[in-house]
């Protein structure tokens, strides 16, 4: 009877990749929001 291969490392790698890419995108959104708000604030203060 064929045994199930141990591919756990690839599964973990796959989910790390998903969470990493999503996190990078969310952080990029957050940083761009912060920069735009800072610009608006700075221009309002001038």
């Amino acid at each position: 009877m064929p045994t199930t291969p141990n591919t756990d490392a690839y599964m973990i790698l796959g989910y790390i990749a998903i969470i990493t890419i999503l996190s990078i995108y969310l952080v990029s959104l957050l940083l761009r929001f912060r920069t735009a708000h800072k610009d608006i604030q700075a221009l309002s203060d001038e």
Partner: protein, 261 residues
């Protein structure tokens, strides 16, 4: 008797209240907040279904669990790119800038989800096909799709005249969707691809096919819902918000420069 043609007074009032709900910024903020929370929950639930509920595939082992998010991320990308098509069509008809913003948001979110699809596909392929990448028709078309949308971002930024930039983006966004259809259809048209199909029968040469049992079907459906109905739309909405804030900042900067000249 016309059912649609003439709305009665209460119906008109009811319709007007729905429009007020959608146009009122306060209600929109609440809706976005709830939708964002729902997206986080749906992602957590989809993880549970993929990693626990689905069960292990006996042929491929646990790497098969990557497939739930791999396919769903592609579906989410397709939804985002379709939003760009709709936004492009409406922009060309109305010339209203908000549709251009929506189109841009669709491309950016779709591109990010396409990268997830390509990366997870590559990770799944290593133990299943014994290679990280092969120039298989499906893989090649998926790569072309991602590159086409990456080119959208670069070309858009290269056009300086705002009106021309928006028109170009709308037309490009509509035409670029052909790569999404092509990527979906390629495994149904070419018998020599080794990429399996989830929906419908797989090609003859497909490697890594598997029969989905009931648990797997449920896990797959939950993941599809999470990525298409919550994660992709919420990210698009936030990206639209970001663009609106950036436009406000640009306007303030332009006003500031004008005042000082």
């Amino acid at each position: 008797m016309s059912v649609i043609g003439h709305a009665t007074q209460p119906q008109q009032e009811q319709g007007a209240s729905h429009i007020t709900l959608l146009t009122n910024p306060q209600y929109r903020n609440v809706l976005l907040k709830f939708w964002s929370i729902a997206a986080v929950f749906s992602f957590a639930i989809s993880l549970y279904f993929a990693l626990v509920y689905a069960g292990t595939d006996t042929t491929m082992g646990n790497v098969q669990r990557v497939f739930y998010m791999h396919v769903s991320a592609f579906a989410g990308a397709a939804v985002a790119f379709f939003v760009t098509v709709v936004a492009g069509i409406v922009y060309l008809r109305t010339r209203n800038r908000k549709w251009d913003t929506l189109g841009l948001a669709g491309v950016e979110v779709g591109l990010m989800l396409s990268v997830i699809t390509l990366v997870t596909g590559s990770i799944w392929a290593r133990p299943t096909w014994n290679t990280w990448w092969t120039w298989d028709p499906r893989l090649t078309s998926a790569a072309i799709m991602a590159l086409t949308y990456a080119a959208y971002m670069m070309l858009r930024n290269g056009i300086e005249m705002p009106e021309r930039q928006r028109t170009f983006s709308a037309v490009y966004g509509i035409l670029a969707f052909s790569t999404v259809i092509f990527t979906f259809m390629i495994t149904r048209m070419r018998g020599d691809t080794i990429h399996p199909n989830v929906i419908g029968s797989s090609p003859v040469n497909a490697k890594g096919t598997f029969e989905m049992v009931d648990n797997m079907r449920v896990a797959f459906s939950v993941n599809m819902w999470a990525w298409c109905a919550f994660i992709a739309p919420v990210l698009i909405w936030w990206r639209v918000r970001l663009q609106n804030v950036s436009i406000t900042a640009e306007k303030r900067r332009a006003d500031f420069l004008n005042d000082n000249n």
